[in-house]
């Protein structure tokens, strides 16, 4: 684009307004002239005459004696020495032949002198914030190197025969008495042509014969061992060897390959960051009431014991299905509102959503208990005065009532009153009766009761409750 565009533009303008060029103005229709013009115009580099020429000739550093070849060579030998044959041998142990070939090619491609003369510290924006040539592993900064291969993805548990062979291979490591050679395996009992073929492909009679011969051989060996005097026995496997066999020998067909990759890492018994999250420590103070650990967080937050938490009254007041419409479809959840109270002036509401109804229910219940707060009550049975609260389009009006009036309220407010310990109340919901909003508005109303003492202080009056004056306050 960058090259073609201006050329194309010049092409057009060349037709519209005669571009000054050698001979073009004189004979614009001649083909060679056009050819000449365009050939030069399609070059992206400026013309030779347009190139910048320094006004003063530069002087090479070596001409000025700034570069001493001896010192360069010495520095190069010191800092960028070649690999010694021993080092290459070590590298061979660690790297595959292809990697070694790449290493050698890299070594051959770069002249150490260039490193000395041309080596610069990087200043480009992508420079690492520290200086390092990555020749050594620094345990604090670098990740732990993983030299071993990943586990064999095709490994499976050994079957009976493989297990036997593996056991024999292990036992052969321990030279015993007069046993000169290794124990024979099943493969030694089949004809030559089947020895390289897996057992599954052996003909039936060959396999049967081999198994029979192998069985006889093993029995003979066992008998031989039995007959032998135990004192004559040489150095057999020790207890430690047996333990090592049990604990460390792989039970899979991976030839005891060990690995240190993340795939092979077994999870530690206590995963950092996860330990204790899913298996709650059982507090003996709970007396076995909360072994699953549902209330442990609540215990810390509220300071209540599990016994007291379980004694609280809770009630599910609103239960509805909600869904979030996404481009992948509807994500349905259950939204639940709980109310909790101790029946003695404390009340809280909790609202939670979850795809699982039971989880939403539990969350809402715990939230309700967490949100519990004291509700002002007159004579521990009704509210103070009349209160009104509005949430969205829902208005709840509440009014105190005399003893014995009862709860003449709608069913959700009735449950709230039961949890809070209110026994005489009148409430109306004159406008919208949305379940969630009516519960919220009722809670808001209960929390916003006027305080007669505060009103009296504000007006500078003395306040006496006449009901508590006569009959010694015994007015029921």
């Amino acid at each position: 684009m960058s090259v073609a565009r201006p050329a194309a533009r010049r092409l057009i303008s060349g037709h519209l307004a005669a571009v000054p060029g050698a001979g073009c103005a004189a004979a614009p229709s001649t083909a060679p002239c056009h050819h000449q013009l365009f050939a030069h115009q399609f070059h992206s580099s400026p013309q030779l005459s347009a190139r910048r020429r320094p006004r003063f000739a530069n002087v090479r550093a070596s001409d000025m004696g700034l570069m001493d070849e001896k010192q360069i060579d010495q520095f190069t030998k010191e800092k960028f020495p070649k690999y010694t044959p021993e080092e290459i041998e070590q590298l061979r142990n660690r790297y595959s032949p292809e990697q070694i070939a790449a290493l050698e090619a890299g070594e051959a491609a770069i002249d150490p002198r260039d490193l000395t003369v041309q080596g610069r510290l990087r200043v480009d924006p992508y420079t690492l914030p520290y200086i390092d040539d990555f020749a050594e592993t620094q345990p604090i900064i670098d990740k732990r190197p993983k030299w071993k291969d990943a586990p064999d993805p095709n490994a499976r548990f050994m079957n009976m025969d493989e297990f036997t062979q593996d056991l024999i291979r292990w036992a052969d490591k321990f030279q015993q008495g007069d046993v000169t050679g290794m124990l024979k395996t099943l493969v030694d009992f089949v004809p030559e042509e089947f020895q390289k073929v897996p057992e599954a492909q052996w003909p039936g009679e060959v396999r049967e014969e081999a198994h029979k011969a192998f069985q006889n051989y093993l029995e003979a060996e066992v008998n031989k061992q039995k007959d032998r005097d135990p004192d004559e026995m040489g150095s057999g496997p020790t207890d430690a060897d047996v333990l090592q066999y049990i604990l460390e020998r792989s039970a899979m067909t991976d030839n005891n390959r060990t690995t240190d990759t993340s795939l092979a890492h077994a999870l530690p018994s206590k995963v950092p960051g996860v330990a204790g999250l899913y298996k709650a420590a059982i507090d003996p103070a709970d007396k076995g009431l909360d072994d699953i650990g549902i209330y442990q967080d609540l215990k810390k937050r509220t300071g209540m014991s599990v016994q007291n938490i379980l004694r609280l009254q809770t009630k599910m007041l609103v239960w509805r299905h909600v869904s979030n419409q996404t481009r992948l479809g509807k994500v349905r959840k259950t939204s639940i509102m709980y109310v909790a109270g101790n029946g003695d002036g404390w009340l809280g509401i909790g609202e939670a959503k979850s795809t699982e109804g039971s989880i939403a229910s539990m969350k809402a219940r715990l939230l309700a208990i967490r949100n519990m707060r004291p509700i002002r009550r007159y004579e521990n049975r009704t509210i103070y005065g009349t209160v009104e609260a509005k949430v969205s389009g829902t208005i709840v009006k509440m009014a105190a009532r005399p003893p014995g009036f009862g709860l003449r309220v709608s069913h959700r407010i009735f449950e709230m009153c039961r949890c809070a310990g209110i026994y005489d109340l009148a409430a109306t919901i004159p406008r919208s009766r949305n379940p969630m909003n009516s519960v919220k508005a009722a809670f808001k109303a209960l929390c916003s009761q006027p305080d007669p003492e505060e009103i009296a202080i504000g007006r500078g009056k003395k306040l006496v409750d006449a009901r508590k004056v006569y009959y010694g306050g015994d007015v029921y």
Binding site: G385, A399, P450, E454, I455, I457, G458, G460
Partner: protein, 161 residues
């Protein structure tokens, strides 16, 4: 004697309290002055001061003497009313006029007795916690409890809470 200025003053006081004003003024009429003093007696107002178009200095609210009222300046006289707040809430929160020029509401002593005990009578709703009633009687503007004490009924001006 019309009550429109009293009705307007009631609403103005409510607006001023909701705007969290400390000092406000209402027109200088005898009716307004009596209502303001009745509210002051009830502890709803901090101060009631007669003054001119400029507010009196706050430190001199209780002992302020304005210039003598003359024919020339009577139209500019105002009643300066100090509002009260407690716990970040206005003491005079709601002022609802009951009577208005087009409908005067009166209450007899019997009716006042019922209303003061929380029972509704006619136009009036029963008083609830923190509510009080101001009446214009032949003994001046009184709070409902003062009126009951003096056994008089009268014109119901406003309900205050």
């Amino acid at each position: 004697m019309g009550i429109y200025s009293v009705t307007n003053a009631c609403i103005h006081l409510q607006n001023a309290a909701r705007a969290r004003l400390g000092l406000t003024s209402i027109p200088n009429t005898k009716y307004n002055l009596r209502l303001a003093l009745a509210m002051h007696r009830a502890g709803l107002l901090a101060s009631v001061t007669r003054g001119g178009p400029r507010p009196p200095p706050p430190e001199a609210l209780l002992a302020y003497e304005s210039e003598p009222v003359t024919n020339a300046n009577v139209a500019t006289r105002r009643i300066w009313v100090g509002l009260k707040y407690w716990n970040n809430e206005p003491v005079l929160r709601n002022v609802k006029p009951v009577s208005k020029p087009s409908r005067l509401v009166t209450a007899t002593l019997d009716e006042l007795n019922k209303v003061a005990r929380g029972f509704p009578v006619g136009q009036l709703k029963g008083l609830t916690l923190g509510e009080t009633l101001f009446l214009s009687t032949d003994r001046g503007v009184l709070e409902v409890r003062e009126a009951l004490e003096r056994r008089v009924g009268g014109l119901v001006l406003c309900v205050v809470s």
